[in-house]
Amino acid sequence: MVRPRVFPHNKQILKRIKNTVSPVESEKYIINRNPRNLEFLRIAAKPKGYHLDTPFSKECNYWHKLVVTPSAKFVTAQLVHHQNGPVIEASTKEWAIKKQLYKTSDLSAYTNLAKVFAQRCLESGIHEMSTKPYSGTKIEKFMEILQENGLNLNESPEINSKPDPNINRYQGRKMTPIDWKDIVEHH
């Protein structure tokens, strides 16, 4: 017997699971086909990865992330979506930017690229993105200019998400270490 390719196999259970997601017949409903709607409303789920990987709350936990790739000669800034890949790109390889720069990989290139990238992001309607921790004068200047131009470099957290199990719940509480000598001496 070949089991169906869907999990769970039991048809009745499948039907009941589907019922939890489908709209109730008696109520009126609208289907909003906008794929970015749930992300803007913060209801969509962010990819969480495997919970035993640490730190799982950081690497893949984003809707849009900013990726800056410096190469020997050029710099590229990309806005990457977790499903659709790079959505907005700006790089000093483009003739439009290259022709106005003296050198395509120095500090002024980074600053100007930041302005162009910020403009393109805001024009496309995306103003929040998550970033990896960075260090270095050029990138710091890049991020500074992005923030000046109105981009938020921290994505807002999801609503209705489960609490992060990797958080140390006892952090901040004063815990005095147990001194076994006192206990033993009492007896």
Binding site: N32, W95, A96, K98, D106, T111
Partner: protein, 329 residues
């Protein structure tokens, strides 16, 4: 490979083709816009190289770059970017990100928005609203339609559907509004799209796919522009004044909890929590809201919270489940 299939008796062989639910991956998509006209690379390269060479020799320019005072002209960058090919494909990426082509034209068509020089042709401008149709699932509302626009004069064009402001309903989140500009070969008569009744929102139902299919021979989509909006107070007034309808308020339909069949005598389950799981969530919320409101004075506000809440002694006669409820408050 699905491990559930690997059971004794099930046959797994190469002739078992995996079902591809996403046909987009397999079927080729067609560009229904203008083809790309490219200047020869050799010409381009020569002019650009000359330009860069000049720049490198400029002492003042180099000094500015060194001291980080160099500022790019953003408008110039944008114009230059729009002329070349790569960035227009980029715009296609952003449009794909918002799934515009899929929702308007179906699985098989897309177009790359290109700016054509001013020619003696006529244009059609349509503003569509693909999300949030009240009755039909895959259709759009047309908010504005003007045909036979000559050069840049919108006023002289034939307005078929009068402009209606965006109406994203309350609670439904963000909606896309899409402008598409079509280039016409000859003068078109689109009077079939005229509204019979301005007060009926259903009259504005529109299918871009059918529209394009019908006028395939005369129309090419060239321009694309879109934005996302949310609900505003003005929409309520508009719906009431123009359409004589009370504005609908929506709520996101979160998936309901999947529960086992309810038993008469569940073992090892707290009875109050078990019953609350199977009750209508609105009833449960109402109950807790009433309890909370019973404790708030209408003028003085809620009762002040106790400092050490868990340290308040509760009588032992009160059953344990009731004690936890009291502690929760």
């Amino acid at each position: 490979m699905n491990h559930q299939n690997w059971l004794p008796g099930s046959v797994f062989c190469l002739t078992d083709n995996p079902k591809i639910e996403d046909e987009e991956l397999v079927v080729r998509r067609f560009d229904i816009g203008f083809p790309y006209e490219r200047t020869p690379r050799s010409l381009e390269f020569r002019t650009r190289y000359e330009h860069l060479k000049k720049q490198k020799k400029d002492f003042n320019f180099e000094k500015k770059a060194r001291s980080n005072e160099l500022e790019i002209d953003l408008e110039d960058v944008k114009n230059e970017w729009l002329k070349s090919a790569g960035p227009l494909q980029l715009r296609k990426k952003i449009a794909e990100h918002n799934r515009i082509y899929y929702n308007l034209f179906g699985k098989f068509a897309y177009f790359v928005p290109r700016e054509k020089p001013e020619e003696d042709t006529m244009w059609t401008l349509i503003l569509t609203y693909p999300d949030g149709h009240l009755t039909k699932e895959n259709s759009e509302y047309v908010h504005w339609m003007i045909t036979n626009i000559f050069k840049n004069d919108l006023a002289k064009g034939e307005q078929i559907v009068p402009y209606l402001q965006p109406i994203p309903f309350k609670g439904t989140g963000y909606h896309r509004y899409i402008f598409i500009l079509y280039k016409q070969d000859k003068k078109l008569d689109l009077s079939e799209f005229k509204l019979k009744n301005e007060k009926n929102l259903g009259d504005r139902t529109f299918y871009t796919f059918d529209f394009c299919k019908k006028y395939q021979d005369f129309i090419i989509p060239t321009g694309l522009s879109f934005f996302q909006t949310k609900w505003d107070e003005s929409i309520g007034e508009l719906l009431y004044n123009q359409f004589d309808v009370k504005q609908p308020i929506f709520e996101y339909d979160f998936p309901r909890a999947f529960l086992k069949y309810q038993k008469w005598f569940p073992k090892k389950q707290a009875f109050n929590l078990y019953l609350d799981r199977y009750a209508d969530p609105k009833e449960v919320n109402k109950k807790y809201l009433e309890q909370r409101l019973a404790k708030t004075h209408p003028f003085e506000g809620p009762e002040p919270k106790l400092l050490y809440q868990n340290a308040q002694p509760l009588k032992k006669e009160i059953p344990s489940w009731y004690r936890t409820e009291m502690r929760k408050e």
